[in-house]
């Protein structure tokens, strides 16, 4: 049980780090063009230098929603981490990590909303480039989606030893 808890803690930290990387790096979609490879993310469009991401007016609200929910997922995963450490020391034996699990599941919801909106709206075509494919940040976000769900459920199920 203790080994499982330690394993979940490691997975949780990995999720937090991956969320940070995924939100901050601008490699959600990658495409090739005449000037080389272009990568776009949530914030910037990068070639050799980075400029502001061009977004059509109908997609503007969706992009803002994705940005907001990715930041929210980071906030909630960090809060869940701190809550877990607090509960590790203050919870009585045999009790479950309800608060941590609940916050982790809220984080899961936020990631779900963010990546769904992004997948629906922004993965069709990419500006200025041909052959767009998904970058590593997109993959990391989906991995975090799975990890956060697993850790959330496990926190709700495990008992403190």
């Amino acid at each position: 049980m203790l080994v499982l808890l330690a394993g979940i803690f490691v997975v949780h930290i990995a999720t937090v780090i991956m969320l940070f990387v995924s939100t901050i790096a601008n490699v959600w979609m990658v495409g090739s063009s005449s000037i080389g490879t272009i990568s776009t993310g949530l914030w910037l469009l990068c070639n050799k230098t980075c400029t502001q991401l061009p977004v059509s007016s109908q997609d503007e609200a969706s992009l803002k929603a994705v940005q907001a929910f990715m930041i929210l997922s980071i906030i909630f995963s960090v809060v869940a981490l701190i809550l877990f450490i607090i509960q590790l020391f203050t919870l009585e034996k045999g009790k479950r990590f309800y608060m941590t699990g609940a916050v982790m599941l809220v984080c899961w919801m936020c990631i779900l909303i963010a990546v769904s909106i992004y997948t629906a709206r922004f993965t069709g075509t990419m500006v200025y480039s041909t052959n767009p494919h998904h970058g590593y940040c997109f993959i990391l976000a989906w991995i975090c989606f799975c990890f956060s769900f697993i850790t959330g459920i496990l926190y709700l199920v495990l008992r403190k030893k």
């Binding site: 803002k64 907001a68 929210l72 906030i75 809220v106």
Partner: protein
């Protein structure tokens, strides 16, 4: 010692343009280009100049000492001096009147202090001229604050409801217990009390 000598020069006279070095101005307005300087050992016959794009001189002034205001040597007719060196900080800011799109670029505030062995320092401001001022968009912040606030509210509501429900359950159970205790008569009220206490402990665990 050459090291100390260089250190003295770099720290003694300093020119600063404030927290940010970019200024945005509306077309056809007057824009303030801020600049202040600080000296370690005071100044005498200090010369300050403002340059546009490093080559074009737009203001040239001289200050005798801390007690006097600067005197003008030459200025571009559209540039006005609005600083003051007699107050606590040495302000040598200028105002550029009637800003046009061609005025966008680099403005350098340069200061030379003969009292500090002709120490010099400068600072640059980047001016951009826009058609109209755009308000910064804060939808992302609003969404984040809304969701976090909503969740905290839900959490507080959930805790309150849980307490109220537990309180109500305790009250109804208390009511039943009182009936039982009083009907059993006067024997050993301590047992009765202890018994009801044990019963009360059960619901919170469940």
């Amino acid at each position: 010692l050459p090291g100390l000598h260089i250190l003295a020069i770099t720290l003694a006279l300093e020119v600063s343009v404030g927290k940010t070095n970019t200024v945005m101005a509306l077309n056809n307005s007057n824009v303030l280009l801020p600049c202040t300087f600080t000296t370690c050992i005071g100044f005498q016959d200090l010369v300050f100049t403002w340059y546009f794009n490093s080559t074009e001189l737009i203001y040239h002034g001289k200050i005798k000492n801390k007690a006097t205001e600067p005197t003008l040597i030459w200025h571009n007719p559209r540039v006005e001096f609005v600083g003051s060196t007699t107050k606590k900080d040495n302000n040598i800011s200028i105002v550029l009147n009637g800003v046009e799109f061609s005025d966008a670029g680099k403005y350098t505030c340069h200061v030379k202090n003969p009292k500090e062995r002709n120490a010099q320092h400068n600072a640059t401001i980047f001016l951009t001229v826009v058609h109209k001022m755009v308000e910064t968009d804060n939808t992302v912040t609003l969404i984040i604050v809304g969701v976090v606030g909503g969740l905290i509210g839900l959490l507080i509501l959930f805790m309150l409801i849980k307490r109220v429900v537990l309180f109500i359950i305790k009250k109804t159970q208390d009511g039943k217990k009182e009936c039982l205790v009083s009907s059993s008569g006067n024997d050993n009220t301590e047992n009765g009390l202890a018994g009801s206490k044990a019963e009360q402990k059960a619901p919170p665990k469940a």
